[in-house]
Assembly symmetry: C2
Homo-oligomer: 199 residues x 2
């Protein structure tokens, strides 16, 4: 699970990991917000109507869901459970609210990573570059970023994104190391038994 | 903390990590066993007399100590505490008994890594190559290796040493990831405060 304020490089870093790691799959959220130009249904989001969203929610088809700025967002349960069942890992690109909810509903172990910008000046500069709007929108984005960052201490790992290549390597190390946890290497018990029993 | 049976590549892997990681220091054990040709006092071990060893032990100068095959081994406390105080990490190259004892006495958080050979055949072949003696010694070494491996489930991480370069990368990732744990990045709290407070 990866969270960060907008402008910290989260989406780019997640895409890099997904591109090179064949055992990692992205959880794609459902949303009622309108599709923006360039967004692809089933890649960026599952774009659904409000009726469909509430039907799914009432049918327990979400692992978590929330309403943000008049639009609904949810994490569909089925793709996650299917991927985990065949031994894949799921990457959740999610905000702190979704992270808190997922922490309560996902049965298997979650690894929570927070990506931080190197400084306030750098964060502000990145948000300005991204904004298509004048200063008031940047101020709003900045306030939202601050609110997100204030939850960083709820995460297991913190990665400061000084530059993308370095941050990508750090994220990859977290993935590799977490997979080396003894409790996750479920096949190793048999291998070890074969090593130490020789009769 | 790294444990493994003899012949799994532990010493080579530890040396590679120590060579390239300036924030990692090896804990050097004290021992009463005679120095072998090529061994250096203060590098391989601190070679001490039995009197000196027992004086140190009674003076609470060891983090752990044990008697193995008529010789005594101990982990001196002072170098460990000094290194930790200046922000270095300590690498313990230690067997399962020392690992258990250290787990009880070291106040700061330990990360326990067990290195496994890829197979029984490979372990046997490596032990044969190392032995200067005939088969009975190999059998004894094999029994000792089995005993060590039987404790693998007491460790946080398991690394199978299929080949040294790969295993080195995996060990390095564990180090990197563990240092990225939020609770270990003690300087980050202030940095985050500076990002989100702007008045």
């Amino acid at each position: 699970m990866v969270s960060s304020p907008s402008g910290a490089g989260k989406t780019t870093l997640c895409n890099r990991l997904l591109k090179t790691d064949k055992d990692l799959r992205l959880s794609i959220s459902a949303t009622t917000r309108p599709r923006r130009p360039g967004e692809v249904h089933g890649e960026d989001y599952y774009f659904v109507s409000e009726d469909e969203f509430f039907r799914m929610r009432d049918n327990n088809e979400f692992l978590e869901s929330a309403e943000v700025f008049d639009h609904c967002y949810g994490t569909p349960r089925e793709p996650v459970e299917k991927a985990l069942a065949v031994g894949k890992d799921i990457l959740f690109d999610i905000d702190w609210q979704g992270a808190q909810q997922l922490g309560e509903t996902v049965p298997t172990d979650l690894v929570k990573v927070f990506i931080l910008p190197p400084s306030r000046a750098e964060l502000e500069s990145r948000l300005k570059k991204r904004a298509r709007d004048p200063d008031d929108v940047v101020a709003l984005r900045m306030a939202k970023a601050e609110s997100e960052i204030s939850h960083w201490a709820e995460y297991d790992y913190a990665v400061v994104n000084y530059n993308l290549d370095e941050a990508e390597q750090l994220m990859r190390c977290i993935l590799v190391a977490e997979r080396l946890k003894r409790t996750r290497q479920t096949g190793l018990s048999d291998a070890v038994s074969n090593i130490i029993s020789h009769n």
